[in-house]
């Protein structure tokens, strides 16, 4: 077998057409990894710059405040989901879901969802990252490398001579295809491995990514091999395989996405935002009891401190902000649950499309999948709850303002 592989490697080195496709694969991989690394660095730099500004901006906002309500109102807090060390390989949902917010003590859900359409263009067309290359482009390159292994030899009337000389077809076609698949995998993966080293990602991730990539190529090799056994001209084989690629890469994912979305209607972020703002705005015109009663239901420990004596009091203001969140809770929960359900169903549907499966696997490794982005939103909610837990016991009993207590203000910690 080793001898066959060496022979076919030397043969491949003389095949200009194959060399072109392999060079293109390497070039595309370098470009995809470079784009990914550059994007991740830009996001990290953005976060670092925002963190610096965040601390300074908050210190500035808190300076000179005289009551807890004003302090909470003017102080913004940066929340963010830093890209993982492997995110360069798959930007995934980071293009369609927000990964940074500036939140304050006001109603939260509107703050989360007012940014949910950012990068909508990328959400639609997708980004040229390694996951896309591995999932969609690599199979196409494999098709171009393998589709006419047999057919071109038949066309050139060399097939019988080759097989008769080889004795067994296995000692010819298997090593010839294997060398091409291995060369393609290697040239695609080398830039990924270098990117992994540059980004300091765990080698375990690189190994898993390698396994996914190789597994995908093996599946496509099997498909191409089965199709190319048909005694047809190279052009017919290529047309058939491209058609299959289109079906698996575009038609099946698009149809299953449409079916999943139709089967799982979800309120969009705009609806949540609108409902919350209407609730908050309406609260100004409602009797204060209409706000304080549902608030106390959620915070019975503050029941003794909810009497509003003046026309405007911060605790009433924050109470109706919270009630705004409470009113949207069913919608938010539905939104969250349906997104998770869609994600689960998309996982099942990906069994029909190797491309979708590979892309999802890469997004999971890179922590840029839907679950990771929902986990980030949950983290923002937890942090906002910490802010309320800090301010409410000071604000509602009307404790005297003490700026030194702000040293204990909760700080946001991203997922490690």
């Amino acid at each position: 077998m080793v001898r066959n592989l060496i022979r076919e490697t030397r043969f491949l080195a003389k095949d200009r057409g194959a060399i072109f496709w392999l060079f293109l694969a390497f070039l595309l991989s370098v470009v995809a990894v470079s784009f990914g690394v550059a994007e991740v660095r830009e996001q990290r730099e953005t976060i670092a710059a925002l963190l610096e500004e965040d601390a300074a901006d908050r210190a500035n906002a808190l300076e000179g405040q005289e009551d807890w309500g004003s302090a909470a109102y003017y102080a913004f807090h940066l929340t963010y989901a830093p890209p993982s060390d492997f995110a360069f390989a798959a930007m995934g949902q980071r293009d369609s879901s927000p990964w940074k917010h500036r939140v304050r003590m006001l109603a939260l859900e509107g703050q989360i969802h007012e940014a949910d359409t950012r990068n909508a263009d990328f959400g639609l067309v997708g980004r040229f990252d390694f996951a896309f290359l591995a999932a969609s482009v690599a199979p196409l390159l494999l098709i171009l490398l393998l589709y006419d292994l047999r057919a071109s030899e038949r066309t050139m009337r060399r097939h019988d001579l080759l097989v008769a000389t080889a004795g067994s077809p296995r000692s010819l076609w298997l090593p010839r295809a294997l060398v091409r698949v291995a060369a393609l995998a290697l040239l695609l993966l080398i830039p990924l491995w270098i990117g992994t080293l540059i980004e300091g990602a765990a080698m375990g991730l690189a190994l898993q990514a390698t396994a996914i990539m190789v597994g995908s190529l093996l599946i496509w090799w099997l498909i191409v091999d089965l199709v190319s056994r048909v005694d047809a001209s190279p052009s017919i084989l290529l047309t058939s395989l491209i058609g299959l690629w289109l079906a698996l890469a575009i038609v099946i994912p698009a149809v299953s996405k449409a079916a999943i979305e139709a089967g799982n209607p979800v309120p969009d972020g705009g609806e949540i935002l609108l409902l919350q703002r209407e609730t908050v705005n309406d609260a100004w015109d409602l009797p204060k009891e209409a706000t304080m009663e549902p608030f106390v239901e959620r915070h019975p420990e503050l029941a003794d401190h909810t009497e509003i004596e003046e026309g405007f009091e911060w605790k009433w203001y924050y109470a109706f902000q919270q009630v705004g969140d409470q009113v949207t809770e069913p919608l938010v929960e539905e939104y969250r649950d349906v997104r998770l359900a869609r994600d689960r169903q998309a996982g099942t549907a990906s069994l029909l499309s190797p491309m979708s499966m590979v892309e999802r696997a890469f997004e999971q490794l890179a922590e840029t999948d839907a679950r990771s982005m929902i986990a980030y939103e949950d983290r923002v909610r937890d942090y906002h709850a910490d802010l309320r837990a800090f301010y409410y016991p000071l604000m509602f009993p009307e404790e005297p303002y003490d700026s030194e207590l702000l040293d204990d203000l909760p700080s946001y910690t991203p997922a490690s």
Partner: protein, 239 residues
């Protein structure tokens, strides 16, 4: 003694058409056996059954006494096959082609051995490092014959080997085939060239519509009489 090549009542039906119908013959060691026939007579199909590319619908073909269908690899290892218009790789030189195909056959040869084989087929020295895409048909055929020589198999199957060659090249080729047979190789060639077959073959079989309808042998050191075979060939074709 076992014949290197033997067809026993060989029947081949493809897509409902009977291509070979009860063909039987043997080719002995050191013998050149030519199957002569017109287009569609079943000549090339006969060769392909010996190589295991076509499975007999009836009867059997044997290489060195072993049924091809039971051990295709053994049959192919014993045979060097020269297809019509042998198409080696145009983007490689003669050296590279021979190196590749020899390796494919599980053999290796030094550059001197390759040069010796190319000398035997009279391929010009200057052409050997050129890509085959610049070769004439005769030069490509010579390179393919050199491959057959280098493989040193006991059996040689030739499919229309002189088709497209000029008269000088044909004569050179015939001389070479005779030399190989004298060295002990069994040669089965299929051709529609009556004159060529009679010049080179020890025995000639006439194939018509898949049936072996006549057989002629060289006797007493004389070549087969071309006129006799030509008359039989023309008569059979006219039937």
């Amino acid at each position: 003694m076992t014949s290197p090549l033997e067809a026993r009542s060989l029947v081949l039906v493809r897509e409902g058409n009977t291509v070979l119908d009860g063909v039987s013959f043997t080719a002995e060691q050191g013998e050149i056996f030519a199957l002569l026939g017109g287009n569609g007579a079943g000549k090339s199909s006969t060769l392909l059954t010996f190589l295991g590319f076509l499975d007999p619908s009836g009867g059997e073909v044997l290489v060195n006494g072993t049924s091809v269908t039971s051990d295709i690899a053994a049959a192919r290892n014993a045979i060097a096959y020269l297809p019509e218009a042998a198409s080696l790789y145009g983007h490689m030189t003669a050296y590279e082609n021979l190196d590749y195909f020899l390796d494919l056959a599980g053999k290796s040869a030094s550059k001197d051995e390759i040069d010796a084989a190319l000398d035997r087929v009279a391929l010009p020295q200057e052409a050997r490092t050129r890509r085959l895409q610049s070769y004439s048909k005769g030069m490509r055929q010579k390179t393919a014959i050199a491959l057959a020589l280098l493989r040193e198999t006991p059996i040689l199957l030739l499919d229309e080997p002189t088709s497209g060659l000029d008269p000088v090249a044909i004569d050179e080729f015939h001389d070479l085939v005779k030399t190989l047979a004298e060295g002990g190789q069994t040669v089965l060639m299929v051709t529609h060239d009556v004159y060529g077959a009679c010049q080179v073959a020890d025995r000639v079989g006439l194939l018509r519509h898949g049936k072996l309808v006549g057989s002629f042998a060289a006797e007493n050191g004389k070549r087969i009489d071309t006129e006799t075979v030509h008359a039989a060939f023309a008569e059979r074709q006219a039937v």
